[in-house]
Amino acid sequence: MLWFALGTAIMMLTGEFYDDRAIVKLFAALRETIAATVKDMPHRAQALHAVEGFERAFETHRRDLAEFGACVERADRKYRATQADYAACSEQARAKRVVLRQALDQVEREYEAALSPAEHALVTSSLTEKPQARILDAQLNLDTARKRATRRSRGIEGVATQRHITVPRNVVSIVYGPLAPSTFGQRFPSNIVDAGTSNAHHEGGADGTAYTEEWFTRPGIRFGLFDNFEAGVLIPIKLAPDVALAPTLVALTYQLRLRAVDLGFRFSFQTPGDVGWALAPGALLKLRSQRLALHTGVLAPMEVGTLREKRSPTLGLNAPVRVIWNLVPVLYVMGESGLAYDNLDVSDGLTIPLGFGAGYTWLLGSRLLEFTGSFAWDHWLVPGKPSGASTFQYGSYRVAFGASFYFQAL
C-alpha cells in the first residue's frame, strides 16, 4: 500500500542534508501523479488534501524530534545532569508520539476514503515508476543504514599520529605550514615543494663560500571530496631573490583504510614552469597508532616538458620515510629521511635527506589550528660523491614554518 511505503521511507531517512530534498521531490511527484491519474475531481482534491495532511504530520514529527534532540543536548551540557533530566525528555517524546499516531490515522482514513481501489492502484504503480520513488525501496534503506555504520567519521582528526593520509569528506584544510600529508614526498627533479614559508640556503663551490638564498611562501588547500579521496592545491610564490609565481601544485590522493594502516595512491602535478609539466605518481603507506606514526612511500617524479617545448623527460625516484611521535596529544616531533634519486640518468645521483620538525595542535571549538616548523638537509648525504667518497652536505638546508587550519565545510 502506497501510504505505508511513503511513511516508512520518509521516517527511515536520517535527515541528512540530501534527505530533505528527496522528500520534497517525492511529495511533488506524488501530487503530480495524483493530478495525472485521478480523473474524478472531488476524489483528486480529497487525495491531495490528505497528502498535505501527511506532509504536515511529517513536519510536526520532525519538529518534535528536533525538540527531543535539543532537550537531550541541554541535559548533555549539564555536568550534574541525572537520569531524571533525560527522563523528562523521553516523557515529552512519548506524549508527542501519541499525537502523531492520531494524526496519521486521520490522514490515512482520508486518503483511503478519497480513492477507489482502482485509482489507488493506479497512483501507486505510476509513482513507483518515477525515479523520485527510489527512496521508497525498503531494502535499499536497510543497506544504506548498514553501510552508514562502516563509513568514515566526518569529524576533524585530532592527534597527528592518528590521522589518515587524506582528510575526511567535507573537511577542508587551509594549508600554510610544512608537514602536511599532501606535500609529503613532493620532491621533483628541479624543486622540492612544502607548504608554508620557507628559506632555502644552497651552498656551492669548493670552499663553500658561494651560496644562494631563496624565500618561498606556499599557501594551499586540501579538501575531502569523498570518504577516502582528497584534492589539494598549493600555490607557491617566490619571494626572494625575485618575486614570482612558481608552478602550482595539484595533488589527488585516494586511500584504502585498514585498521591501523593506510595505503594511499597519489597523483600530483605541477603546472608548466621552466621544465614544463612535472608529474609525481606514487604509492604511500602510513602506519598509525596512539602516539607513533610511520609515513613512507615510493614516488616517481618526472619533468616532461610541454607539447610546445619538447624536452627529454627527467625521471627521478623518491622513497621518503617520516616518523611522527606525539610527546603529548597536542605536541609532536617528526624525523624524516629516505632515499632520493633526483635524476636517474645521473650515475651518482643518490641522495639521503635528513629533516626534523615539530607541530603544535590547538583545538578551537570544532576547528583545528596547527603550527608547524621544519628543518631539512635535502641533500644531507651524497654517497659516492665526488670520486667515490661519501659527503655530508650541511651547508645547504631548508627551513619552513607556518600553520594549517582544519574545519568542516558542511
Binding site: 535527515g15 514529527h61 481501489p117 534503506n141 555504520a149 577542508v172 596529544p329
Partner: protein
Amino acid sequence: MSSLRQSAVALAVLTALGGCRSKSPPARHPVAELTASASAKAEVVELIVPDWQRAERARQLYLAIAALGYEFDEQRARSAARGRSLTAGPAAAATAQRLSAAQLESLLVPPLEASQTTCERYVQLMLEMRTVLTDDELKRLDNVH
C-alpha cells in the same frame, strides 16, 4: 603558462573548493546528529583530555554512542522493511488494505521498546562520561560537532 594564467587557474580551484562551505547546515534527524557529533568528539577528545588513559576511555564511550546511533538507524530500517512486507505485492496495492494507526506508527518509528532501550543505553553512557571527564572538559567537548 603565464604567471597570470597560473594564478587565474589557482584562484578558480581555490574558489571552487572554498565555495563548498555552507552558511547554515540543514537540520538533521537527532539520531544522525548524535552519531555525527559523537564521532567528531571521539576524533579530538585526546586534544582536550591531557591524560591518555582517561582520553581513551572517553573516546571509547563516544564511539559506543556513535554505534548506538547506527544500531538505531538499522532498527528503523528493519521496521520499515517489515512494514513494506505487509504491503508488498500487487494484491495489497490493489486492495488498499487498511492497517491500524498503531501498525502505521510502528512503521514510522521503531517499536517503543527498542527506542526506550536505545535511550536508556545512551543515558547510561553519558552518565558514565561524567565520571571520566571534568566539567571543563565536557564543556569543551560540547563545542565539537
